[in-house]
């Protein structure tokens, strides 16, 4: 089996397994009903989310180390520089929101949990987008010669 095949398999297992365990969390604890959550629901949800993240991280690491050193270094560079660039790009978005750029959305009565989720995900999504952008650029640069 080639390194690329190993990488693809480990990455697929990381993503599909992580999402699968994450979805099982919803199945296990059921959708939020608005009532005060029970202790068992909180513990089960937290433990399954921990398991999903541990699964995803373990197999993502296996995927990373299945690559050769050149691709690993390129991946690390893309994650570092792209990630920081993405986080930097999230600052103007945050400022736009903070000064009321999304003010008109207030009329939509968005649930507070969704607002929290959007804020929680802003930086990691921007970091991931930056890392993907940097990885694509590095791949393009290396393919030119």
């Amino acid at each position: 089996m080639t390194r690329d095949q190993k990488f693809t398999i480990f990455l697929a297992v990381a993503i599909i397994g992580g999402i699968g365990i994450g979805l099982s969390t919803i199945l296990a604890v059921g959708p939020h009903q608005g009532a005060a959550p029970g202790t068992a629901r909180i513990i089960a949800g937290t433990l399954l989310t921990t398991l999903a993240m541990a699964w995803a991280c373990f197999f993502a690491a296996r995927a990373h180390f299945a690559r050769d050193e050149f691709k690993r270094q390129r991946e690390v560079s893309a994650s570092y520089w792209g990630g920081w660039l993405g986080i930097a790009a999230s600052a103007p978005l945050f400022f736009f929101t903070a000064v009321g750029g999304f003010g008109p959305l207030a009329a939509w009565n968005v649930p507070p949990m969704l607002v929290f989720l959007a804020g929680y995900l802003l930086a990691p999504i921007c970091a991931a987008a930056g890392a993907i952008g940097a990885a694509l650029w590095l791949r393009y640069r290396d393919s030119r010669s």
Partner: protein
């Protein structure tokens, strides 16, 4: 760091893909090393030298910038 990887490969009539397969790395790695865009780790450099039956300093030429 300069190297004579391309010459050594040409002497054996190996493609980049063939050399990559023998070293268990990607063809992109070989291309990046040959064009001087990537300096391999010491273990890989030793592995390359060993594959061609040469000393590491015969394959990789250190040049101070």
């Amino acid at each position: 760091m300069k190297n004579i990887l391309k010459i050594l490969r040409a002497e054996r009539d190996w493609t980049q893909a063939e050399l990559a397969r023998r070293l268990d790395v990607s063809r992109e790695s070989i291309n990046a090393i040959e064009t001087g865009r990537y300096d391999p780790s010491l273990p890989l450099a030793f592995e390359i030298a060993r594959l061609f039956g040469k000393k590491i300093e015969d394959v990789f030429l250190y040049k101070k910038h």
